[in-house]
Symmetry: C2
């Protein structure tokens, strides 16, 4: 398919909260890149607006294509509240939620726009209260990057594997190594 699977729901955005500049730069960048590659339409960084993270993701969008929004919000809580007021629903990924395998089909069946909230180490209580779904990807400690990836693949199913991004750079799959095509500039 051409265009992001997130459009099935109007839009699917990822909200990263609790980012700390020194500790989280690379992990938050991974969160943003995974959002794009696995079918979401946008990434919002709450709190400290780390320009390096935004530069990484917008750089990837300009080279690799796709219709993807990246921006900041001063308040994650307000962003969540507004998302809900506009008719969207909020999925908070946390070790302490209901099992993904049980909740995912319910979330996927609802046609509402989805905001996926991804925390760092400690998440303020408010997010648990505001979320329509608190969802755990296993009840073991691992990684918000992994939790997001597993959630998105389950939400979008196989469509993430058939998404066409139409960027200046495209990789064609090959058995042993790199086959890059540069300069097409379709997108």
């Amino acid at each position: 398919m051409v265009g992001s699977p997130g459009k099935t729901y109007g839009k699917v955005y990822v909200l990263r909260i609790g980012h700390r500049r020194e500790r989280d730069k690379r992990v938050t960048t991974h969160v943003a890149l995974v959002s794009r590659a696995l079918g979401a339409n946008g990434f919002i960084l709450a709190g400290d607006c780390d320009k390096r993270v935004l530069a990484s993701i917008t750089g990837v969008v300009s080279r690799w294509g796709g219709d993807f929004y990246a921006g900041c919000t001063p308040s994650g809580v307000k962003y969540v509240e507004e998302w809900r007021e506009e008719g969207g629903e909020v999925v908070h990924l946390t070790m302490y939620g209901l099992p993904l395998i049980e909740v995912a089909p319910i979330i996927a069946a609802s046609s509402k726009p989805k905001l996926v909230v991804v925390g760092a180490e400690k998440v303020p209580r408010e997010y648990y209260e505001l979320a329509d779904y608190n969802v755990s990807v296993t009840s073991q400690p691992h990684s918000e990057v992994a939790a997001l990836a597993v959630f998105l693949t389950l939400l979008f199913d196989d469509s993430i594997y058939y998404t066409v991004f139409r960027g200046k750079t495209t990789i064609y799959p090959s058995l042993r190594g790199k086959r890059l095509v540069l300069g097409h500039g379709l997108g």
Copy 2:
């Protein structure tokens, strides 16, 4: 199920190559934690043996349970060669491989022990040559943590959601927030 899904194949280990201490500490720790939480039996760090990463993962194993090995190897290439000599197969996750969705059923159907190789930014050519499978989780740039997570969930299917770790700490899923049980010490 009690015990790691990786045992279905004898063992499934994750080999992290290209780790750089300052840049990658948190991302490599995420790779290790995801390996454990999503069903692998072991994690090997190649090259620079970063004790902080090993301490993080062994700390989680001691609190949260499970039968999981974590260690280092001075040479990732030798580790891969020995794995193959002992009858195992090697899956290298890379942006430049064959599509996961096509290759995963073939890998899952083979009963051989599996070594999943996860690189950082640049991966030496040798790994592409030595791998039985070079596999891409989308042909877009994102995250080795995400690629590993998606690969393991596809390899082990739903069994990762029903794995029992029997640790001193266990979380029971709940609608809004935290329900921890401490001190059981079953595992």
